[in-house]
Subunit: 306 residues, 2 copies
DNA sequence: GCATTATTTTGTCCTAGACAATGTTGACAA
DNA sequence: TTGTCAACATTGTCTAGGACAAAATAATGC
């Protein structure tokens, strides 16, 4: 369509697709794709079309397909692989499908209002567990199926972020307990999980301080000391490799003082098979509420339950 | 101090310090630092201390020092370089120094309240130009001087984000004009600049839609089409290399339809020497207001000025 | 059918060379 | 002394192709 075919250098392609330079080169060597043109000093320049195909390939591999099966294929064949039976289309209640419809039609304002309304109707706890969690799942699957664009996902994230932040603003309690520090490790840039955890913890009366995403481990230690945190909460999305989750948590546990608890949550930890010494892995969000109660009963052995 | 000396592999060091693997290896070859130990398969493992020194070195290079001067030095000498005369300590009004003090003493709640109060006292426009912009500058310089930790900067970002988002929430106008799409390119993960721009644009009656950070170029095009945007605004922090800003803007300009304006702002574009064909570079935030007025007068040649 | 074991696949690391872009220095004129 | 331009040095990022462990798949035995 475009008269000018944009060319991207290898560093830009790495940034745009999330596929490392080493991987791009080794795919070219092994599978004959991508096939970038070369500039006068023999450096790779990737045409726009191939960059788009690489994004698609990354999705398919994330779906469970093997690189050897997909990296050599043409554009048409790739698209054919998106819809087949292997990707299960979960039946979802209409109430949640409506949100997906709003996302697909880019109705940012309506979407935000609808989210706010659902929050007030259901209450925060149910809103998160019965609407947002399944909605996130649905959005993730639709994206896998190629039915959602990246910018549409960004749009949804942004609206939900706005709704959650305004809810948290009304919940913040500087005198609450336990004192919790929330953040993610370097490499994890998704903040939605963090916000959902913060909202839940605030609801249960915790005193939350958030550092945003991507805090180096040593900085987390210092921050926890500065705030006299009882608990450090780390969030992991499913975008992050399982092994990175494991080693990251081990490093963090080693570096943190023993008296500070370390909790980990998000879809990235759910597929974690083994337990990690000294780290409490959270499944659904409701685990957080339970864990807070447990922490309270352990820290104040004679609770006020008359 | 720690009995266990944490060891980090090269990928983790890249993530934690922001220094690329290639650079880490070539520094070792050229300057003899860092000197990681090797595991049984001869792969580099960096001790914690060296990772911290690398972060320090990165700061000093960002300060204008040359790698050859700093990459071989010991820890003490490095620290000696942080304070000297070359780093000018700007005299700032007390009113702004107070904020820095709150950051340094980790008073998250007080900081947020103080920011909100300043916003309501000064009004959004003055708040951004007379408080936040110089404060950001001061925070940046303090960080360069090693007086601020990363987590303290994160904390400040988080509080300011909360304040700005709640301000924007009250300003949003779905029927405003022009229709503006805001985001950053892949590689730029700072969202504060984006929020400041959004707040200013909303104040001037624009209809803003934000995609958050790191949207691939093709996705920006699609999003702009979906929202029938008049203008796309990209934000660049000073953390991003000047050349990346330039090529990114050129690519975006090439890919965007000619009738959609492309504006670029943030401290990352201010040091841009040359102009870029078809891209409007913004200096201070006030440029945005002027540009909106200009856009209006060009789009509606007969304005309503009585 | 299920649990081991062998085999392939795959991402990431390695070394060492190259080069353009950028920064620094020195020569010379104003 | 100050400014300009060429010569020189520095530096990040690219190149190629080899290596290998971890993960996924196939083959085997019970």
């Amino acid at each position: 369509m475009q008269p000018t075919d944009l060319l991207f250098d290898i560093a830009t392609v790495e940034r745009e697709t999330g596929i490392g330079k080493d991987t791009l080169r080794v795919w070219e060597r092994r599978y004959g794709f991508p096939v970038p043109v070369r500039d006068e000093r023999d450096e790779r320049l990737y045409p726009q079309l191939q960059v788009e195909q690489l994004r698609l390939i990354k999705r398919l591999i994330g779906n469970g397909l093997r690189p050897a099966k997909v990296v050599g294929l043409g554009a048409e064949e790739l698209n054919g692989l998106l819809t087949p039976a292997q990707i299960q289309q979960v039946a979802a209640p209409q109430h949640i499908l409506n949100f997906v419809e709003l996302i697909k039609t880019h109705q940012a304002v309506t979407l935000r209002i609808a989210l706010s309304r659902a929050l007030l109707q259901q209450g925060l706890d149910d809103f998160l567990s019965k609407t947002i969690t399944p909605l996130n799942q649905l959005v993730g699957e639709a994206w896998m199926r190629g039915e959602l664009r990246i910018f549409e996902e960004h749009l949804y994230s942004e609206q939900l972020t706005g709704v959650l932040r305004s809810a948290i603003a009304t919940l913040r309690d500087p005198s609450g307990s336990p004192r919790v520090l929330l953040t993610t490790l370097p490499g994890e840039e998704h903040s939605l999980g963090l916000l959902m955890a913060e909202a839940t913890l605030c609801l249960y009366g915790a005193n939350c301080v958030t550092l945003g995403v991507q805090t180096p481990i040593q900085e987390i230690i210092s921050a926890a000391a500065a705030h006299r945190s009882d608990i450090v909460v780390l969030s992991f999305s499913e975008a992050i490799p399982a092994q990175q989750v494991k080693t990251g948590l081990q490093q963090a546990r080693l570096a943190l003082p023993a008296n500070i608890h370390l909790w980990a949550g998000g879809s990235g930890v759910m597929r974690q098979r083994s337990v990690i010494e000294g780290v409490q892995l959270m499944g659904p969000l409701s685990d957080l509420g339970i864990a807070v109660e447990k922490w309270r009963s352990e820290s104040f052995p004679t609770p006020l339950t008359h």
